[in-house]
């Protein structure tokens, strides 16, 4: 996909890569996302910010099929093919299953790192890399030539990706034994291994030190530039957001309160008010639970 040639960065007539239209998500009586609209253009680096509990992770979960929103639509367009991520009638809605979302080209990382802890770094990436192959149990058991070839190709790709994120030295180490920053990068490598068009990063800089943060910033830029992957990230670190994002969307209480260029958004009084009004700006410790809202 990445080698299909360069497309113009902002071709006006083509639909955006991702279009979220009027999405509403409720848990019981609690509204987590309220009429959210968002578009992501191909090739962009875009950020979603907002105070804790604003619904950022819920948005990601809707995009990746973990949650099914009650209202609204989500469209993903790549190579001229548009896929509806949420289908069904008003009453019975279905979202594309997470692995299907991954297959059509949306990969993600998690706010609280979710690696396969008892596996090596190499295997973590390999599992994601080989989902694109069609090796079945029979091929695997009988070592059919096709399966063998796939396996070799996957190994190469995995090594390649580990090199790309700078983890070639720790390939054989257990994921759980790696440092926090390294785990973050490993998770990104795993996401890249599914060969995505759109990469969703959920607070990639949380818990990393300034050096790691700088490296991360470079990594994101390289992913965007070298691999031609569009990036949508949730981040609390304003400096990082301001420096790499082309566009910023601000969520508060499940609503989009501002959208635009970083500098613009930073000046927006509504945003300033939202941030000052919220009780604490420190990082969330509760992980996903904080956003789920029940």
């Amino acid at each position: 996909m990445s080698d299909t040639g360069h497309e113009p960065r902002h071709a006006a007539p083509t639909p955006p890569l991702l279009a979220v239209r009027a999405v509403t998500l409720r848990f019981g009586g609690l509204t987590s996302l309220n009429d959210v609209n968002l578009t992501v253009e191909r090739g962009a680096i875009q950020a979603v910010i907002g105070p804790n509990g604003a619904g950022k992770t819920s948005l990601f979960n809707c995009l990746t099929g973990v949650y099914t929103p009650q209202l609204g639509s989500i469209e993903f367009t790549s190579d001229g093919v548009t896929t509806q991520l949420v289908t069904g009638t008003e009453r019975r809605r279905r979202s594309k299953k997470p692995h299907m979302v991954s297959r059509i080209g949306v990969a993600r990382t998690f706010q609280n790192i979710r690696l396969f802890a008892a596996l090596s770094a190499f295997d973590n990436v390999k599992i994601a890399a080989e989902t694109r192959h069609r090796t079945g149990p029979v091929g695997a058991m009988l070592h059919l030539p096709n399966a063998q070839a796939n396996d070799r190709a996957t190994d190469e790709r995995t090594e390649d990706l580990l090199d790309f994120v700078g983890l070639e030295g720790v390939a054989d180490e257990l994921a759980s034994s790696l440092s926090y920053g390294v785990q973050r990068r490993l998770e990104i490598a795993r996401a890249l291994a599914t060969d995505p068009q759109l990469l969703l990063l959920d607070e990639p800089a949380a818990g990393t030190n300034p050096t790691e943060k700088r490296e991360l910033e470079q990594l994101i830029r390289r992913i965007n530039a070298e691999r031609d992957i569009t990036v949508l990230l949730i981040e609390h670190d304003m400096r990082l957001v301001m420096s790499i994002a082309d566009r910023v969307t601000v969520l508060n209480f499940g609503k989009v309160i501002a959208h635009g260029r970083p500098a613009q958004v930073q000046q927006d009084p509504v945003v300033v008010e939202a941030y000052l009004g919220s009780a604490d700006e420190t990082e969330a410790e509760g992980g996903e639970e904080a956003d789920r809202g029940d």
């Binding site: 998690f110 979710r114 295997d123 989902t131 694109r132 079945g136 996401a191």
Partner: protein, 449 residues
């Protein structure tokens, strides 16, 4: 939320009893319980205190209690002297050395070779009774356990209807050999039935797993239990198809080879069947070992450790769980063909629900996830009861009780089993720290509202 908020904060400091005394009490209770479990009489419907009297009004109780006190004293001494850590410090080097040696490919190959040779040679030296035990019990259950290991050990699901597929395999054999009241009009050699039974069980597994596995993994346990009941009722009630409780109407024929001018007929003798079983086991183990280290095996590991992350990485979780479940089912069916043909006579009573739990206990005891551990566990736990039976050491009907006790004790003290796989051990340790999941029981990572 409001209920939680409305609750008063009550922090009560509990009165501390010396933990050593608590442990002593525990050991004493355990001693008394063991005494109760080892009594050789059995209660009757009219005399409910018979066993209690036999257990607690005899001098043997004193020995058990003294034993409990002795064990307690030893463990306390061990604790006080911190012998455990001392020993583990002292032996750390040796253990590391052992690990490097045991990890070496050559070592493992030699061990496997030794095992294979032992399996081929040693049974020849045994009495016919033990040869029969080896085939009817050990070989059958080892094969079953290796199959169940795929479901429980590798994909982290719980299948309590495993023996239902065993029954399906056996009855498929009976059908295609014309031993049931309904006949297909032709008769097949059991060798030909092997793939048929595998496919039949595969399909049955898919049909059962598909509606269940879309939901929570733990429902599978109860649904499979129900499935077993249904299969059992079907076998019992559909007399005109299955022969009901009277079992197959004609003996199921033995295996035979009759191709390329080679004629061989298996008979009632045990050894030829032993080699047949071992051959099948070798094939199954070989294929499964490859599966474990393939894309499929890695996907199962991923699902076990973090289903949400696996799905996000593009692993179709439901598909892989279903795959594990049906591969397990078809192995069970394969064993069923061998078993049916070996015994010649089967009826629904040969496949009780408790047998599924028994096979589960073999897998657990040996070490979930490690083929070699599972084989060892199943072999040991099937062979020992036969020895007990021959020597009249333990009442046969008490064996399920012991198996239940073994399950609980293993889960409490050594959940990884006798000879665990390294990965499994790691997972359980990480799960203890709250990092990984180590099973596939949680809610499917999709479709939540």
């Amino acid at each position: 939320m409001s209920q939680v908020g409305g609750l008063p904060v009550r922090v009560k400091r509990s009165r501390k009893v010396d933990p050593r005394l608590v442990r002593l009490f525990g050991w004493l209770v355990l001693g008394a319980l063991l005494r109760l479990m080892t009594v050789t009489t059995e209660g009757t419907a009219t005399d409910h205190t018979l066993v209690l009297d036999a257990a607690f009004k005899s001098t043997a109780l004193i020995w058990w209690l003294l034993g409990a006190v002795a064990v307690w004293a030893l463990t306390e001494l061990w604790r006080a002297r911190k012998v455990g850590s001392l020993v583990s410090d002292r032996t750390a080097g040796a253990r590391k050395q052992w690990r490097t040696v045991s990890d070496r490919k050559l070592t493992r190959q030699l061990a496997v070779l030794a095992l294979v040779l032992a399996a081929l040679i040693i049974p020849n030296l045994m009495s016919e009774f033990y040869q029969r035990v080896l085939v009817d019990q050990v070989a059958v259950f080892v094969l079953l356990a290796v199959g169940l290991n795929v479901v429980v050990g590798w994909s982290g699901l719980l299948d309590l209807g495993y023996i239902a597929f065993f029954a399906i395999g056996a009855y498929t054999t009976a059908y295609f050999t014309g031993s049931l009241p309904v006949t297909p009009g032709f008769r097949l050699n059991p060798f030909v039935i092997l793939p048929i039974a595998v496919i039949v069980c595969l399909i049955a597994g898919l049909l059962l797993g598909a509606p269940t596995l879309r939901l929570r993994g733990d429902y599978l346990a109860i649904v499979t239990l129900g499935f077993h009941e249904i299969v059992q009722l079907f076998l019992v009630n559909k007399n005109n198809w299955t022969g009901g409780n009277q079992g197959v109407s004609k003996p199921i024929p033995h295996f035979s080879i009759n191709i390329f001018g080679i004629h061989y007929q298996w008979t009632l003798d045990s050894m030829p069947y032993w080699y047949l079983f071992m051959g099948m086991l070798a094939i199954v183990v070989f294929l499964f070992a490859r599966l474990e280290h393939s894309k499929v095996g890695r996907s199962w590991t991923a699902i076990r450790e973090d289903e949400v992350a696996a799905a996000a990485s593009g692993v179709p979780t439901v598909k892989y769980k279903l795959m594990a479940f049906s591969i397990g089912a078809s192995t069970s069916g394969l064993a069923g063909v061998l078993y049916g043909s070996r015994l010649g006579y089967i009826n629904p009573a040969s496949f009780p629900v408790v047998l599924s739990i028994t096979v589960l206990s073999y897998v657990i005891f040996g070490g979930m996830g490690a083929i070699i551990g599972v084989i060892a566990g199943a072999a040991l736990l099937t062979f020992l009861p036969a020895v007990f039976q021959e020597q009249n050491l333990v009442r046969q009907e008490d064996i399920p009780m012991w198996i239940g006790a073994i399950l609980v004790v293993m889960m409490l003290f050594r959940p990884q089993g006798l000879i665990p796989s390294r990965r499994r051990r790691r997972e359980l340790r990480l799960a203890q720290q709250g990092i990984a999941d180590a099973d596939a029981m949680s809610e499917a990572p999709e479709g939540r509202q």
